[in-house]
């Protein structure tokens, strides 16, 4: 009793003083402050300046442009087109990844140890494949001249990267391939944590599989599903390597650009660093909005951070 009172009055830990957590946090804060917060600050700063190669290498002085870069960006029709395709593409990736991942997680619970291990290992293999490697292998699989896919489907020398949609579709396949394992493994671990008595009781009561999934598993898995959804959104919205490698930097006439690649091209190919930074800031703000929704969901579920 005495211990309890003492705790609630001063600090939650017996030996705790207010400095301890900060000492523990210090290394993380130093690294993040120097290599994340400060660069983000610089990013914001650059987006308000005229900042091209001439300024970077000291040939000309930097000039303050205010919201000029943003105005230029928002009046550019290509930006809106890229923004739209980013949102649609990321959305399609998230939905497909979650659907495949969840379905396979359920499948894992229905099979015996050997097939389970085989599928698990295959998925881990896909997960372990570096993005650059995965992208090149998928390109080879779908290569018009030497790829087995066209041969099997009898498509002749159909080029998958020529059409806008088919190029996006190819990249989507690769993204789903390398990101569904995370969802599958996590959801599978979550289902296993559901007490089996609950499920057996439901089955004995004659509930259908669909009903068990909808009425019992979904509510119990909701925290997990929220986590994998938000992670997928974060990752898929930022897809870079796959687009960059598979469509050779954004596709024919830039048809397969997504925001991240677009920002990179603006900044590094055209050396419009300030415009690239402005796109980066816009992306950051959009993902922040998603985070707010996420936090709101967590709060509504009564979960504490």
């Amino acid at each position: 009793m005495r211990v309890r009172r003492g705790r609630s009055r001063s600090s939650p830990r017996p030996l705790g003083s207010w400095t301890t957590p900060w000492i523990y946090l210090a290394p993380a804060l130093v690294v993040l402050g120097g290599l994340l917060v400060y660069p983000i600050y610089q990013l914001g700063l650059i987006s308000f300046f005229q900042y091209t190669q001439a300024q970077v290498s000291g040939g000309e002085p930097t000039t303050f442009k205010g919201f000029g870069n943003y105005a230029e960006l928002f009046s550019d029709s290509q930006f809106w087109q890229v923004l739209l395709s980013t949102v649609l593409f990321a959305g399609a990736c998230v939905v497909s990844t979650l659907a495949v991942g969840c379905a396979l997680a359920v499948l894992l619970t229905r099979v015996r140890a050997v097939p389970r291990l085989v599928l698990m290992l295959a998925a881990l293999g896909a997960w372990a494949t570096p993005a650059v490697t995965g992208s090149t292998v998928w390109l080879l699989l779908f290569d018009p001249d030497f790829g087995p896919v066209n041969r099997v489907l009898g498509l002749g020398d159909h080029s998958w990267t020529y059409g806008r949609l088919s190029a996006f579709f190819l990249v989507l396949l690769e993204v789903v391939w390398c990101s569904f394992p995370f969802v599958m493994v996590t959801v599978y671990a979550g289902i296993r944590a559901v007490p089996s008595e609950v499920l057996e009781a439901a089955a004995l009561d004659g509930a259908s599989q669909w009903r068990i999934w909808r009425s019992i598993l979904t509510p119990m898995l909701r925290p997990i599903l929220t986590v994998v959804t938000i992670q997928s959104v974060i990752w898929d919205f930022k897809v870079f390597t796959q687009i960059y490698v598979m469509t050779n930097g954004g596709g024919i006439a830039g048809q397969n650009l997504v925001l991240n690649v677009y920002a990179y091209q603006q900044a590094f190919a055209s050396s419009k660093y300030s415009l690239g930074s402005a796109i980066g800031v816009v992306m950051l703000l959009m993902l922040l909005a998603v985070t707010l929704v996420y936090l709101r969901l967590l709060r509504r579920q009564g979960e504490e951070l």
Partner: protein
């Protein structure tokens, strides 16, 4: 929601304070001039680079022998990613090479970025420099000052397969219209060959079509450039070039993404009846399957017997402002572009010398060069000498325009108008 104010605080603390400027480099000229140490050299990685490396090695060995205590470190950088490498080098003088090869279209841009050293004095004092071809000299000159030494000139002409032409009873085309019809005939007769292999990202293959039709990239007035790519004549040229991307010659699905190197690779591999290639592509083609089965003629113009104006390409070798071995670096630049080096580089790679006397000797020795020298004599064109050109080039304005037309996304008029707008933005922002 209680979180919102917290975010506002976070954002506010991270917000921009308009007094601070972002970081920049101090790329002023290095005042050091060391007489020993390591010199870093960046040269372009060519298709089939070994002969080039051999010539460079012998120059370097001689240079190292002549200058005790110096070491030369040569690196071959891929042409595709050169823009990023060079920019990074300008941004971090410590990583920068002392001497580098660069495309002559980049001269104005690199000078504007403050990366290249003014070598007017040394170039003037160099005894060999007086024989430099005036157009080549023009390509290292910005505002009357020289920023390097010409390495080679390059022009493109029409490569064609002698065996295929003989089989089908064809003659080398005399006009641009004939060029297109010959290409279609080849593809019709031999469906595994592209008639004339063309690339949607092959700007300098497309430009002769624009120029031959009387179009221009841009027009200069009082030192400022205005794009002319959407002019009626230019549009005609764009139309002529893009109409070659059809299933009866070079299917868009394959050819739209190709660049200049891809078309040469395809021709060298025996996959095309004709290609637009440079004199500098000679060794790559020789190394391919078509060795001994091809010939070259000047690219025909609109009128019969005329030559389409070619782009006067080529590369220069320059010294970076940040070098701490100024004297040595300039000396190495001269050695790498000397008459002797250019003569052996011609033998090794077929790079046309920039010295008129060396070039004439080379052309007399090798009949292969005749069509290229003819093309040079017929008059060549150069890209706008504006720092904006580097940006137009590296942000792929013209390839995007061509690809938009080829893939049917935009009409010639709309695509060229958009491209003209982007070009004008680049010209004006680069001042």
């Amino acid at each position: 929601m209680k979180l919102a104010p917290r975010f506002a605080v976070l954002l506010a603390t991270a917000a921009v304070v308009a007094g601070c400027a972002p970081q920049t480099s101090d790329n002023s000229a290095s005042d050091k001039d060391e007489t020993s140490g390591t010199l870093r050299v960046w040269l372009f990685q060519e298709v089939g680079n070994d002969p080039k490396a051999k010539v460079v090695d012998s120059v370097v060995t001689a240079f190292e022998k002549a200058h005790k205590g110096t070491k030369v470190d040569v690196e071959y950088i891929p042409i595709d990613t050169r823009a990023q490498r060079v920019k990074a080098a300008f941004n971090d003088p410590k990583s920068a090479p002392d001497v580098m090869e660069y495309g002559n279209t980049d001269t104005a841009g690199y000078v504007h970025d403050g990366g290249l050293l003014d070598v007017t004095k040394e170039f003037g004092a160099w005894s060999e420099a007086k024989d430099t071809d005036p157009t080549a000299k023009q390509s290292v000159t910005v505002d009357g000052k020289q920023y390097g030494s010409p390495f080679y000139v390059g022009v493109r002409a029409l490569y064609y397969r002698t065996d295929v032409f003989k089989d089908l009873g064809l003659q080398p085309p005399k006009t641009m219209a004939e060029l297109a019809s010959t290409a279609r005939k080849i593809h019709m007769a031999k469906s595994d060959l592209y008639g004339l292999v063309v690339g949607g990202a092959y700007t300098y293959g497309a430009m002769p079509f624009v120029w031959a039709n009387g179009g221009e990239l841009a027009t200069a007035k009082d030192g400022t450039y205005t794009s002319a790519i959407d002019g009626a004549a230019a549009q005609k040229g764009i139309k002529a070039y893009t109409s070659l991307f059809t299933s009866d010659n070079c299917p868009a699905a394959k050819c739209a993404v190709m660049g200049g190197n891809d078309t040469i690779t395809a021709f060298a591999a025996g996959k095309a009846g004709m290609a637009i290639g440079g004199d500098f592509s000679h060794s790559a083609v020789e190394a391919g399957k078509v060795k001994g089965k091809y010939a070259v003629v000047p690219l025909p113009g609109v009128a019969s017997g005329s030559v389409a104006p070619a782009f006067a390409g080529g590369n220069n070798i320059g010294v970076l402002k940040s070098t701490s071995h100024r004297t040595l670096a300039v000396d190495l630049m001269e050695q790498l572009t000397s008459k002797a080096t250019q003569a052996s580089m011609f033998d090794a790679m077929g790079f046309l010398p920039t010295f008129t006397d060396v070039r004439d000797a080379a052309a007399a020795k090798v009949p292969f060069e005749k069509p290229f020298v003819e093309t040079l004599a017929a008059g060549t064109k150069f890209v706008p000498a504006s720092p904006g050109w580097s940006e137009i080039d590296s942000s792929l304005v013209l390839p995007t325009m061509l690809q938009e037309v080829i893939s049917g996304k935009k009409s010639v008029a709309a695509a060229s108008k958009d491209a003209a707008k982007k070009m004008n933005d680049a010209f004006s922002s680069a001042g």
